[in-house]
């Protein structure tokens, strides 16, 4: 995380700026020796990444073209699993739900930005206390979060519905209504990652040069104008980073669905995510070939969505001067 925080601060990046390694006059062997040294430095990382990332990806992709036996072993079936996937309405629902969670997750970003802006106000009292409060959900186990919110959202005995009833509103079937369930899970997902986003934004905000703000004040900008017209564009690279991370983590929601809804609920089809559907097929129903195809689709979707985000950033992200 500290690495991320560093990366989002424009100043620290400037200090580390690109250093040109190839000055003229070096001999061929010297350059080669340097290259070898370089490779040796990245070898430990490359080896572990190969073992824990590349190998599983390749193995998984292979499995997605097979029909697996219950206790291991597989037979090649070509594209069968993918054809089955395209015809599977549950998979389409899972993709839809996952997309909705990602959208709700993006709605949390302005919220994180505003909270970070408020926390960054000079002279704010109990600053550390507020930061701790906002960050607390991040360090709580996702399963514990799911269990607590499952109780709070409970249709019949939950606190949220009893509050609604007290103020004269009728109960909402948070964990069983097809629409409400998306909001309930999306809300908890935003709530549990808000603190992390706030910390990233705060790091960005603290790197905003004071003289730029002072110049804006001299030009007559009020606090709100300052924030949206000066501060936000300066930290837009941070906002971009946070949005990429948020979308990627939203695409991976599993534990909240697993804990808050569970497979016995009739609302499971309306709320399950791609990763949950993967779990259901691969771990519960033992259909690992099919499950492998599901996560291969997830990998491709993630890459597409991230690529789109990088495309769009050109329109609104401002990189230093």
């Amino acid at each position: 995380m500290s690495q991320l925080a560093l990366a989002t601060s424009p100043r620290s990046v400037a200090e580390r700026g690109d250093v040109a390694p190839n000055s003229p006059g070096r001999t061929h062997t010297a350059r080669r020796r340097e290259a070898v040294t370089g490779f040796l430095f990245i070898l430990p990382l490359f080896a572990t990444v190969s073992l824990f990332m590349f190998y599983p990806i390749i193995r998984n992709t292979y499995l997605s073209f097979t029909e697996t036996g219950v206790f291991g072993g597989e037979t090649w079936t070509g594209l069968d699993q993918y054809i089955r996937l395209v015809q599977d309405p549950q998979m389409w629902m899972a993709i839809r739900n996952t997309g909705l969670y990602a959208l709700i997750g993006l709605l949390g970003i302005p919220l994180a930005l505003i909270i970070a802006g408020l926390l960054n106000r000079p002279g704010l009292r109990f600053k550390s206390l507020f930061r701790v409060i906002y960050f607390l959900p991040v360090v709580v186990m996702p399963v514990a979060i799911g269990m607590i919110w499952r109780l709070l959202f409970n249709d019949d005995y939950g606190i949220i519905n009893s509050i609604l009833n007290t103020i004269g509103l009728s109960s909402v079937q948070w964990l069983s209504d097809p629409v409400a369930v998306i909001f309930a899970i999306g809300f908890v997902a935003v709530w549990s990652t808000l603190g992390f986003n706030v910390v990233l934004m705060l790091a960005g905000l603290q790197a905003v040069p004071r003289d730029v703000i002072e110049a804006a004040v001299l030009d007559g900008a009020g606090p709100i104008r300052q924030f949206f017209s000066v501060t936000v564009p300066i930290i837009s690279p941070t906002v971009f980073m946070v949005s990429v991370l948020t979308v990627i983590s939203s695409l991976q929601i599993f534990d909240l669905v697993f804990i808050m809804i569970g497979r016995n609920s009739p609302a499971i089809d309306d709320s399950q995510t791609i990763v949950y559907y993967f779990y259901e097929q691969g771990v519960v129903l033992l259909d690992r070939g099919y499950a492998a195809a599901i996560v291969t689709i997830l990998l491709i979707l993630t890459m597409i969505v991230t690529a789109i985000q990088f495309r769009l950033q050109k329109r609104w992200v401002h990189y230093g001067s």
């Binding site: 991320l4 400037a14 700026g17 599983p56 219950v70 291991g72 249709d155």
Partner: protein, 427 residues
């Protein structure tokens, strides 16, 4: 100036997500060979899901180690819903516990997959012997016997002005009790319609009572398209239509056992061995719970029974020691001890009285003994879980939105027959 850095970071992030989603899929069954001689000290692992059984097994394993000083046993307890997925992964990775618990519903999958070692049966003439065998080979010994009965809340019966049910009660009595006990304003319901595990805790026994079945005797064809089977499911749909059960959504959010112990359910069809779990509730300890055999249907009051037994992993390092342990756990002495500590009923009917005596201060469990006499083993096939899932999926709208029973059950039969056809090559 910043973009290379953030690009690199997101590339890492993209790779990271890939790793997170894919890790855990890889892996293949590894064949391990040999077994160590019992002369050297060995440690066996023993896996189970029932947390209330742990103290009992700790005691029994201490006794076992006293008899066999070279063998110690380590207990691995995992909650029920994670237990089987975990076992499955262990099997694929070749790391199954030396001894673990199964029900006869999972046994065929593991036995036919070559994961289990054969053992000496302890009760070759009992109804359970057949349940713990597959293709003529014996793989496990039952240690727990669970039969379906109805637990009821005396306080709610009193409040509704009803007499407690008696052994001669009928389906109609059951339905009218369920309706009379329901008090929707206070979230109190007569009986929950639980659809997981093919309705073993609701309509399953009623299918047998109506003369139907879930699966043919040779375990190759679905019985859901039989009129008798449909009759039983229709009966339960009427209970749903009366409003006597919480909805499926409510049951998914709050465990039916918890609803029952907090006084929100008048009757709870459950296994008789639930006593140690219910014992932890105030309702139980205040003497407000009763049990009664299932109501009588057209053909009688058959009750499904599920046993829990111990099996030996075929690929373990200490198969001989593990066999010794499973055979020890299958003895009458251990069964007596199990019942004496109130842990549950055992396959030895002779030990039942210990269970009844243990809880007599709080509840009269003797109707459970009668239920045991009319018990039939719950249905299974090679991969039972595959069609348990189908049954739950198709019957949820039947019980919630009152979808047509005949249509739904015919669809179950069709899908189930397809699933059973897939099993055939592995039988």
């Amino acid at each position: 100036m910043m973009s290379w850095k953030s690009k690199r970071l997101s590339r890492v992030a993209v790779a990271g997500i890939a790793a997170f989603s894919l890790v855990g899929l890889a892996g293949c069954a590894a064949e391990s060979t040999g077994g160590s001689s019992p002369d050297e000290p060995v440690e066996l692992t023993f896996a189970l899901w029932q947390p209330t059984d742990v103290p009992f097994f700790e005691q029994v394993f201490a006794d076992f180690t006293e008899e066999n000083p070279n063998i110690t046993v380590r207990i691995q307890q995992t909650g029920f819903f994670q237990y089987f997925p975990k076992l499955q992964n262990d099997a694929i990775n070749g790391t199954l516990p030396d001894v673990f618990q199964l029900t006869p519903q999972e046994l065929p999958l593991y036995a036919s997959g070559g994961q289990l070692a054969t053992i000496e049966g302890n009760d070759d003439d009992s109804v359970y012997a057949d349940q713990w065998a597959w293709n003529g080979e014996r793989y496990g010994n039952a240690i727990v016997r669970d039969t379906q009965i109805i637990w009821y809340n005396k306080d709610l019966f009193d409040a509704a002005g009803l007499e407690y049910p008696t052994a001669d009660w009928t389906w109609d009595d059951f339905r009218s009790y369920a309706s009379a006990l329901t008090d929707e304003a206070n979230d109190v319901y007569g009986v929950p319609i639980v659809l997981s595990r093919a309705g073993d805790r609701s309509f399953a026994s009623f299918i047998a009572q109506a003369g139907g079945t879930m699966i043919s005797e040779d375990e190759t064809t679905s019985g859901f398209d039989l009129p008798e089977t449909q009759e039983a499911i229709e009966f339960w749909q009427q209970i749903a239509a009366d409003g006597s059960s919480p909805t499926q959504a409510q049951l998914a959010q709050t465990n039916p056992n918890a609803l029952f112990t907090s006084g929100k359910l008048g009757m709870l069809p459950q296994r008789d061995g639930l006593a140690p779990v219910l014992f932890e509730s105030e309702l139980f300890q205040s003497g407000s719970m009763g049990v009664i055999t299932l109501p009588n249907g057209p053909e009688g009051n058959m009750a499904s029974t599920i046993s829990v037994g111990n099996v030996v992993a075929a690929n373990g390092d200490n198969v001989e020691a593990a066999r010794l342990l499973v055979e020890f756990l299958g003895t009458r002495e251990v069964a007596d001890q199990y019942a004496q500590t109130g842990a549950g009923f055992t396959p030895y009917p002779e030990s039942d009285q210990f269970m009844v005596d243990f809880y007599s201060e709080f509840i009269d469990l003797s109707p459970a003994l009668e239920a045991g006499e009319n018990a039939f083993p719950f249905w299974r096939s090679l991969n039972s879980e595959a069609w348990f899932q189908i049954v739950q999926e198709e019957l949820t709208p039947v019980m919630d939105e009152l979808a047509d029973v005949e249509e739904a059950t015919n669809r179950i039969a069709e899908r189930m027959n397809a699933a059973l056809a897939e099993e055939r090559p592995n039988r």
